[in-house]
Symmetry: C2
Subunit: 719 residues, 2 copies
């Protein structure tokens, strides 16, 4: 990766007598002010075009287990110095929504000294045109070498009772449905969300706690998004709301003893981010989170590339088949339980014949890979018992002929994707990690879907505390040593670390498609995710469900997928991920070959992206050009209300004729009553064309736009 | 290993109407009675020659986190069946106090059913001539698959206010001085012991809590020793005393959440052991703990052998030199801290020249190995801060030329012994374990001294809870894969697991010689350890201190080693270990070459052992014959009072003449005033000889007895 432009200008100012420090974004629209109050509390505020984004808000920490001196690290400060600079570079991600990313900001670092203790704390602010990032930095110093965080006390004071798109704060799950409400309504809506559905591991902490990325909209039409970037060896940040004053305070995930973070100077916190615009599309277009992460640390990235895959998965999620091989066992003790003499239950998904079927279908349709869950012994007894030695990650079931499958897949040009469910027994996983990765490398697996279902072992630790945050990155770093790409489910929601470790090819870390078989997702779910979950990085959402009636797979399962088929197709464009799954089963796709064609065609890596329409919770329309190619793909994902999307095709190369294939809802489509109605139309288009397209409730559309040199007769033209 | 004798006779009795079940030891001296009380509480009692060893005592568990049903697993039981059998075999340990060990017992298994829940629990009793072992066994059953132990409720009711040799119960340290007192005195003596000296990690739990192996003596002269055998994946057992009734109840080490153990059926607890005799020597001669462990699990043990070693160690313990290389750093972050440009502090022990000196001295004196502590980066900042990434176990300091030292040692026939201080950052150690062992194997290291100083990470876990018990064995099992022997310090005290894993060549796990430089050990310390700590397995006590005035090494250290030189020599025989260190520095040994000769000569593996005199806290006299040789070595370790030891040499082969070299105290020797006075005498002896030898306070003697064909003129004879 080259860095085409790089300009750094630093001006260091030493001003001891004034307490206010100010910074503007490169375009001047964002204005940051930093002061220290009379009691030495650091205070920052942020405005966008004279509208208040963050009202004056205090900063700092409460320390725990301090041996001597104050536990407060949030007041008693004075400004020692500050420095200002600017930065502008353009860098190329290994994969992404665009081939080149500009990273331009003005920066201010304020050095504070706590007079009573002599402790030095720096706060570094970076103002981009699309938002603010700031973090705390602790230089090495005799008075502050090791410290334990009792709580981070970063406040985000809102200027009003904004509309928020939120899920409840929870130390162990992120898989809630989003609620749209005023800030003042969170308290009385939260419990219903928390109790609506049991989660395998669930630890809510406050009736006004919410997760980030948190998307908000003000009455003035300002879009504010709070999240964090570069979460490394630190606990995940939640926000707890003072709902009388609309002030959020950071709330970190505690460890088993209630502490929030073990720190050793020199060190920094992750970046706290506030993306802001008066145009919702700018939130989606923001690269602020990636830009606040460190450049790629891997020397060789040639082995990393996007993947389109199928999987032996949906049939287990729906209950049509099982991960487990037998029903014989009361419980399993690996190494002692005798699988060879166990009776197969007859419903084991990961059997060789079934896997071959998926490989054939995937190969016939141009996919890269096939995931198989339930291939390895232990699934009869894997969850819910705080079991330590739950999987060994290398021993296949008797009916999964790993060598045969490996060789057959290779002969068809298909890669097998590994599956490592850890059952959250993390010590056990780390003990097996080298052997498991080595096994993958030896058998040609180049990517792994890992999972962390259930309560964490070491017991008392939480999914999103410092311990586990450290683990998830450890697994990614170690995987890089084996040239393995990681797609971690139930891991902490991403914070742009894929810039630094591009083998972190995906995460789940939100409510995914699987919940369509567990009671359903709200119909506007995927119009919220791009503003929330995807702010930190790609999601392995696993779209492509064509059969919305789950009872067709499992008569006992009466859940429904709350989308139309056209909506499902749109997600391959609107829910950016370098890892895209066709999640339904081959038999279902065979029923809808014309609709399936879009999934076959759509690219998974992009030259550029255009954000056409966006309103959180209502609709998202995006067009993207494939990387190193001329094809465009567009998608419009619609919420619960029918609407007409308008997409000017002005992003197309002038003077070129394209064939646009539009996969859309019909006027009769509706996620509730008629989810499988769709229509496919072809148009001859150019850069002057405008697509006006009806989107049904829970619907949407997808479009492929391909340069066309053929006969245009018989094709319709868009106006 | 052959099993020369093996007789098993099982009689299964189905008696539903009587509740009392009885068992006798093979020699008939021990009598066990088991009943179920009217409320269904299991009760056992034990007699020795009609003297009460264990008065009727209840058994069972309190369960935690039970989803349904009773939390009690200690009453409501009835006897379903019981079976009785006997067993007799002789097996050969890879190393040990004798070449062949007889394992003979009568066994009774009682199957209990808890009527209200249907739960089945077996209790298996094994009666040896020298004591009792019993354990709980949980068959696989639908009503009891996974369970969490709230507390084990095994009681040991004493028949009186016995004299006990005890250290306070503590979840994180075993390194206390022993107190000799009545049971009724423990409560008011315990706190003084706990607060006498700070420990790097210390968690006492009760004013009447004590550790096992617990040695007691009754007023009738009965010696009772309570411990456990085969502690695998279960928390260490302490004893908490009801000091009004003299009833001990088991107390397990909790995890970070307060739970005592996660169990999955089928499973068993460790064996609870009661060794008993009216002759204290029988306690030392007991092989009950080893016999209750599983046979060796390693197929190839040819690479395991005893080791006599020296070490760059005592000079750091005394403060003469340092583990750390530099004083430059406020703290260390491995990978970021620049050691190459740091200023050496000039006192780093593990520098190449110094190590070469030890290698030369060790080679000149017939040692097998040299340990070097402080060879690897990180020691400037390794303890006390709950630091996660504290060592990498493979990177030497700039002044430790690992390749040169490795090659030089090999050229002199000396093996280097690895040192892995983990700082109790156990996740970090496990993450590095494979690489660290591989590094050892690549560089010819075949044994490792590991350490667990400070509070455990994962934080909240304790040194002796199930989590860490699991870890210690994990490290030993993994080491076996690399043909590495393990000597783990601060690990849980042993329970005979070296039978199953003979590469567990040693443990510290009690107050070792190092405390002679930290304020001193009681002068009778090593007359207690054979009855307590050594019941479970060998201790790396690191004897051989010849300079008792620590200020000779470090003017600021005014500690004294509370022994005489002759006492130090005796320990090589009385404190059995296949791993024996000459702990003092070469310069000191050079001052006493004639006394040092015993350390050069003494064997470290044994054909047979004779327990000549023994009284806990007062004296221990043992003679041992080297394995596959004709030499005998004897030692008498004395307590605080001067006495004369009498040792008939009737164990010698009749008709053979031996030269006995006696290294003893002088009449003027005294650990307080004259610890370095010793005398060496040679005698011609045979099987009719009797050695009467004065032992000074804190003194003792050592004897080598070697077949002699030379001229006997000029040699004294023993009467």
């Amino acid at each position: 990766m080259k860095k085409p432009i790089l300009i750094i200008v630093f001006l260091t100012l030493w001003i001891g007598f004034s307490t206010a420090r100010e910074l503007r974004s490169p375009d001047g629209n964002l204005f940051l002010k930093f002061t220290v109050e009379s009691d030495g509390t650091p205070i920052y505020s942020l405005k966008y075009k004279d509208m208040t984004v963050i009202a004056p808000s205090s900063m700092g920490f409460e320390l725990a287990k301090t041996e001597a001196g104050l536990s407060s690290l949030h007041n008693g400060f004075s400004i020692v110095s500050h420095s200002i600079g600017s930065f502008d570079e353009t860098w190329e991600p290994v994969w992404g929504e665009e081939k080149q990313i500009r990273n331009r900001y003005n920066e201010m670092t304020v050095t504070l000294r706590q007079e009573e203790t002599g402790r030095i704390m720096d706060i570094k602010f970076r103002l981009f045109d699309d938002g603010l990032g700031f973090r705390y930095e602790f230089p090495e110093q005799p008075g502050l070498v090791y410290f334990v965080i009792g709580e981070e006390l970063t406040r985000f004071a809102m200027a009003g009772d904004h509309t928020a798109f939120w899920i409840p704060g929870d130390y162990d799950t992120q898989e809630y449905d989003y609620t749209t409400s005023r800030l003042s309504e969170i308290r009385h809506l939260s419990e219903a969300e928390i109790t609506k559905q049991p989660h395998a591991s669930q630890t809510p902490f406050s009736p006004t706690g919410v997760q980030t990325a948190l998307q908000m909209k003000t009455e003035d039409g300002l879009y504010i998004n709070i999240h964090e970037a570069a979460l490394v060896n630190y606990s995940c940040m939640y926000l707890d709301l003072d709902d009388e004053n609309f002030v959020f305070t950071s709330h970190l995930v505690p460890d088993a003893q209630g502490y929030k973070g073990y720190m050793q100077t020199p060190c920094t916190t992750p970046w706290r981010t506030v993306i802001v615009s008066d145009d919702a599309r700018d939130i989606l277009a923001s690269r602020l989170t990636l830009n606040l992460n460190e450049p790629c640390k891997l020397e060789d990235t040639s082995w990393i590339r996007p993947i389109k895959y199928m999987g032996v998965w949906w049939e287990m999620i729906t209950g049509m088949s099982t991960w487990s091989y037998t029903d014989d066992f009361l419980s399993v003790q690996l190494g002692h339980t005798d699988y060879l003499s166990a009776r197969p239950n007859g419903r084991h998904g990961a059997n060789t014949d079934n896997v071959i079927k998926y490989i054939d279908f995937a190969a016939d349709n141009g996919f890269d890979a096939v995931l198989v869950e339930g291939w390895n012994i232990g699934w009869e007894d894997w969850s819910g018992h705080s079991k330590d030695y739950v999987f060994d990650f290398i021993t296949p079931y008797p009916d999964f002929d790993l060598e045969l499958i490996r060789d057959y897949a290779a002969s068809k040009g298909i890669e097998m994707m590994m599956h490592h469910e850890t059952s959250s027994s993390v010590r056990n996983y780390e003990r097996h990690l080298d052997k498991a990765y080595r096994f993958m490398a030896d058998n040609g697996y180049r990517s792994v879907k890992s999972g962390y279902v259930g309560d964490i072992i070491p017991r008392g630790e939480h999914h999103y505390g410092q311990w586990m945050v450290n683990h998830y990155l450890h697994a990614v770093e170690k995987a890089a040593g084996y040239k393995i790409m990681v797609n971690a489910h139930e891991a902490v929601r991403p914070t742009g670390l894929c810039r630094t470790y591009p083998n972190l090819i995906g995460n789940e870390s939100a409510r995914g498609t699987e919940f369509q078989a567990f009671g359903g997702n709200k119909p506007n779910h995927t119009t919220v995710l791009p503003f929330t979950r995807l702010i930190g990085g790609p999601m392995d959402y696993t779209p492509g469900i064509f059969e919305m009636d789950i009872s067709r797979y499992n008569p006992d399962n009466h859940s429904r997928s709350n989308t139309t088929i056209a909506n499902q197709l749109s997600l391959y464009v609107t829910m950016y991920s370098p890892l895209q799954m066709a999640a339904d089963i081959p038999e279902t796709y065979a029923r809808f070959p014309d609709a399936f064609r879009f999934i076959r065609d759509v690219a998974v890596d992009w030259e550029e992206s255009r954000y056409i329409e966006a309103e959180p919770g209502q609709y998202v329309t995006i067009a993207r050009k494939e990387k190193d190619g001329e094809r465009w793909f567009a998608g419009s994902t619609n919420g619960a209300e029918g609407r007409t999307s308008v997409m000017p095709l002005d992003y197309l190369e002038p003077g070129i004729t394209y064939l646009a294939t539009v996969y859309s809802d019909t006027p009769e489509s509706d996620y509730r009553t008629n989810p499988q109605a769709y229509i496919i139309k072809e148009y001859i288009v150019n850069e002057k064309s405008v697509l006006e397209q009806y989107c049904a409730p829970g619907g949407g559309y997808a479009v492929s736009i391909i340069p066309y040199n053929g006969n245009t007769k018989g094709y319709k033209k868009l106006k």
